[in-house]
Point group: C2
Amino acid sequence: MRVCLTVAYDGTNYHGWQIQPNGITIESVLNQALSDLLGETIVVTGASRTDSGVHSLGNVAVFDTNTKIPAEKISFAVNQRLPEDIVVQESKEVAPDFHPRKRDSRKTYEYRILNRKFQDPNRRCNTHFYHYDLDVEQMQTAANHLIGEHDFKSFCSIHTNVDSTVRTIYSLDVKRREDEVVIRITGSGFLYNMVRIIAGTLILAGNGTIAPDGVKDILEKKDRSFAGPTAPAKGLTMIGIKFVI
Amino acid sequence: MRVCLTVAYDGTNYHGWQIQPNGITIESVLNQALSDLLGETIVVTGASRTDSGVHSLGNVAVFDTNTKIPAEKISFAVNQRLPEDIVVQESKEVAPDFHPRKRDSRKTYEYRILNRKFQDPNRRCNTHFYHYDLDVEQMQTAANHLIGEHDFKSFCSIHTNVDSTVRTIYSLDVKRREDEVVIRITGSGFLYNMVRIIAGTLILAGNGTIAPDGVKDILEKKDRSFAGPTAPAKGLTMIGIKFVI
């Protein structure tokens, strides 16, 4: 059967999702724990190959297994074998042809900016500390230009190698939550570093470096060098994925 | 001059505030960093001697120094010498006889219970994970019996050695904040383990083990064995202290 997992992790100590020759990854740790549990070689396929240092509350991965353990019990069993910074939230059986990257989906990410005078050590791993003033209204005005279907070439790493840089953003909300500014974004899919470059650009709109409407021009340039810097990985969390039926 | 610091820390890797023969403490790290910065032996006096694993956003400490560095600049300078899990939030000059434990004050603590089906690895160090249902209304009803001046002998560690176990709780609110249940308590001062025993007891009221009004009886017993267990340190954060003029 094919099993679908929802996986939460603290990405601080990992070299991202995808298996790499150097450095431990979420994928490699999951494969090991599942293989040990099920007594067969398990290879998971992830929906979102998050970068080094990025966190997750609801990334999705599938794998095939011959086990007789009911799919919904695998979450509890595998959590006993996982380190405390990776926790499977749910396991369930899916159709044998279900592929999490080939299905239409809506992915939601949150970028948290800790916006106060001094760093809070209790949030140092899950937020980007930024102590200058941020104007959330200006950030939202800038963000509104990105909603919809656009060519996001200016908002992806120059190291990206994809056929098309057109993506759809369904929603992009900037809100103050006590001493944090939280950017919440839902889209059909994101290019390499796209959410972090959007966050870095919205910070420039929030601190007055660029005019909010300047984001429209940045989009039109289709050139990475016009957008803001790539905001640090540790502020980013993959919240969840909804698959469109 | 006497300088007053507001100190935030992630208590995960410390054996609490107070200097101990075995294990690194917040106090010892602060003394070292301040002594190195100011070129004289500095000994801080803390307002709240938090336990091993307890966090802080606003603990207070004072020390005397001959430095010519303006008091309000010390925060920035000492943060350069502190590890990333301790961050001074403010430094200011106070009266030479100001003693943070001998002055009347209102201390606020927060106890965060992560109340969801599975652990969230991103909050594993700063919340107490508890996956059974909690009835917040029942917890608040129980909490209300503790507000005011009472003998809290039932709610302090049997290892406490104090003249009086009478304390005043000014407010005690239990609120659901998304998937967390947050207990926020303000009092004149707290006995050893008092907030964690209150949290452990309110959890019993929330899961139906004890009737909310049973807390009144527990108070009257003046015996630690009648209250709930001491909730884990990692859920507790010292929020701040207001000194009464």
